[in-house]
């Protein structure tokens, strides 16, 4: 420290009580308690509720896989889509799942850059959710191509025809966006896990656990020379993931916006899709975190304040989505294009009116309840509203895709999409895949970033009395 600075002038006066923030870790828990509480979940006996959740999830997952097997062996005709509705539940499910992933990256990267310390208790599970949601998302575009064994033509690999992929197509941009997103999210998640895997290694009671955690901890010793490079790398990965997450859903929206279809060809799509993605993702984060904190007894780490802050993000992004819905209608009228105006009138009052109004009530009305602190802090209500958000955002993608396609310019090209049982069971089954992966994650890995949560406690601050600071030192 600079000796010339008067030490007395550096003393910071404690803020008045009403301005004090609620601590991120309640009950002044010690550093040791944090590792014990979080690592203990993956170390203890498998609880009954875990098996009760795991078995149905695995069954659903197997159902999803058998439906995919049936689709691949028979053909896309087992689905309900047909001319003029060439995209239906497949792409709806794809956009739904990829959107959910965005909250994980927002929490891990954007909130990190914004120095939002509360992110530390939810980022690990939210990032895991991202990875599993992207895994579910990746299935649908892959299987909707029909001849799945030729899906590798999407990648710039030499093939017998000597033809390369067509890089002017937004569908190909999407291949790169989603695969980059999956890869970078995995890297970011893994980098965050390394110090916690070392904690798991050092706590391991059996040789097998020690070996497995030790292998993936890469010999981490908590060295400050390592931390120095590690923190810079983490910051850079957050800096790379931020433009990445914004670009991924923008590029997903280009799948629609770059086409000429009325209802799709709008410039508002990229920001509107990104806001919707974050909205839906926070809905899913809350749907997962509220049971998780109770079942794993993590109420002191994932506090009501965390839930309240997430509810506020839902309120903000939900309002942006509501604004986008209004603006779409305004531009459809103001733009003076009769086809565009027809597409939007048809959306709200045509044969799919019910889907439109489900979307609107779930996405625009339900988040408005979060204006009230009483509702934001009531975990049962937050849980119920988060489920409405999930439902609404699935319907949003359905509305955008199916209502825009189902009436082509000529009435002879009109149709009405009905899903088959294969459509339905594949989608329902994808939740089984998602939940199976998430439950395995909860069972074997630390669900909360142990070292990061320790880092935001007062005990971790060398300038705080709880961190051992003595008056006048530093």
């Amino acid at each position: 420290m600079d000796a010339s600075v008067d030490k007395a002038s550096l003393r910071i006066v404690a803020p008045p009580v009403e301005l004090e923030r609620e601590p991120l870790v309640l009950k002044k828990r010690s550093l040791a308690w944090i590792s014990d509480a979080v690592a203990g979940i993956a170390e203890g006996k498998t609880p009954t509720w875990w098996w009760a959740a795991f078995f149905p999830s695995v069954l659903l997952m197997l159902m999803c896989f058998s439906m995919i097997g049936y689709l691949i062996s028979t053909g896309v005709g087992v689905w309900g889509l047909n001319h003029p509705i060439g995209w239906a539940w497949d792409i709806t499910n794809f956009v739904f799942w990829i959107g959910i992933g965005h909250a994980g990256t927002l929490i891990s990267a954007i909130l990190f850059l914004l120095r939002q310390k509360w992110r530390t208790s939810i980022n690990r599970a939210a990032e895991a959710m991202t990875l599993f949601a992207v895994a579910c998302a990746g299935i649908f575009p892959l299987i909707h191509v029909g001849r799945i064994w030729l899906a590798w033509w999407l990648f710039p690999l030499p093939n017998a025809n000597g033809i390369w992929p067509q890089f002017r197509s937004p569908l190909l941009w999407d291949v790169f966006a989603v695969s980059t997103y999956a890869t970078v999210s995995l890297l970011f998640w893994y980098v965050g896990l390394i110090p916690d895997l070392a904690t798991m290694r050092d706590r391991a009671k059996t040789a097998v656990r020690k070996f497995c955690y030790g292998l993936f901890a890469l010999g981490w010793t908590g060295s400050n020379r390592h931390w120095s490079n590690y923190e810079k790398a983490y910051l850079l990965l957050a800096g790379l993931s931020t433009p990445l997450v914004l670009s991924v859903h923008s590029i997903v929206s280009f799948d629609f916006a770059v086409s000429q279809v009325p209802g799709w060809h709008t410039t508002i799509f990229p920001p509107y899709f990104v806001a919707g993605a974050i909205f839906s993702g926070f809905g899913m984060v809350l749907t997962l975190m509220i049971p998780l904190r109770t079942l794993c007894k993590l109420e002191d780490l994932i506090t009501i304040r965390h839930i309240e802050l997430m509810a506020k993000v839902i309120l903000a992004t939900g309002s942006m989505v509501g604004y986008a819905y209004g603006m779409e209608f305004f531009i459809a009228w103001y733009g003076g294009n009769p086809y565009e105006l027809y597409a939007f009138k048809n959306r709200a009052f045509g044969p799919y009116w019910w889907a439109y109004w489900i979307m609107l009530s779930c996405n625009v009305i339900s988040p408005q309840f979060f204006w009230f602190k009483k509702i934001r802090t009531n975990i049962v209500l937050v849980f119920i509203l988060s489920i409405f958000v999930n439902i609404g955002m699935w319907f949003e993608r359905f509305v955008i895709i199916v209502t825009s396609l189902h009436r082509d310019y000529l009435p002879s090209n009109w149709g009405y999409f009905k899903p088959t049982y294969v459509d339905i069971l594949t989608f329902v089954g994808s939740f089984g895949l998602f939940m199976t992966l998430f439950l395995l994650f909860m069972r074997f890995l630390p669900v909360i970033a142990i070292s990061e949560v320790k880092g935001v406690t007062p005990q971790a601050d060398p300038h705080h009395p709880l961190g051992g600071a003595k008056g006048g030192h530093h």
Partner: protein
């Protein structure tokens, strides 16, 4: 293990601390004593420890930049080569190559290779993975990922002397000062 001392010489001397402030204070003392081969081990990154140890800023960013630059160059060159040079196909009368339509893919590749550059840059600067380390065999050191803090001075350091270094760590407030076997 530490009981097997017949021929092995110590790898390092280790001192335990309870709080980040004590550790940082000790780090400043060790830094000012002029040691080079030493380190501080903490369960989480301690803010200000880099200065206390006299470390310079991390250079991981250069790896990120190199990765990102490779990504954007690769993307643009690949798309130009594939769509304009090697097998040109006219689609919708659009130009065979335009930096605008090539941008999204090149942008994603910038981020992808930038992220790999960051990761492998961090690993190589940290000399990781390293699956065997003398410290990991020391029974006390396990708490370094739990709730204890350690200052470790390697015996290979020029300034190292068994008695004086031990006294220095004691003076710095270290507890359980022990030797770590190679």
């Amino acid at each position: 293990m530490s009981s097997n001392v017949s021929s092995s010489r110590p790898y390092a001397i280790l001192a335990e601390f309870d709080t980040p402030a004590d550790t940082m204070h000790a780090a400043e003392i060790v830094r000012d004593a002029g040691f080079k081969k030493w380190d501080v081990h903490t369960p989480f990154p301690v803010h200000g420890m880099d200065q206390a140890m006299g470390l310079k800023g991390s250079i991981v960013g250069y790896f990120t930049f190199a990765g990102g630059l490779t990504g954007v160059t690769l993307g643009m060159t690949m798309i130009w080569w594939m769509n304009q040079f090697d097998y040109a196909i006219v689609v919708g009368g659009k130009p065979l190559f335009s930096p605008l339509s090539a941008f999204p893919v090149s942008y994603e590749l910038t981020i992808l290779l930038g992220a790999f550059g960051t990761l492998f840059g961090m690993f190589s600067l940290n000399r990781l993975p390293r699956l065997h380390h003398p410290l990991l065999k020391h029974p006390r050191f396990r708490a370094a990922t739990h709730d204890k803090f350690y200052v470790v001075i390697e015996c290979a350091d020029i300034k190292y002397s068994t008695a004086e270094t031990k006294a220095l760590l004691e003076k710095a407030g270290g507890k359980h000062i022990e030797f770590v076997e190679e």
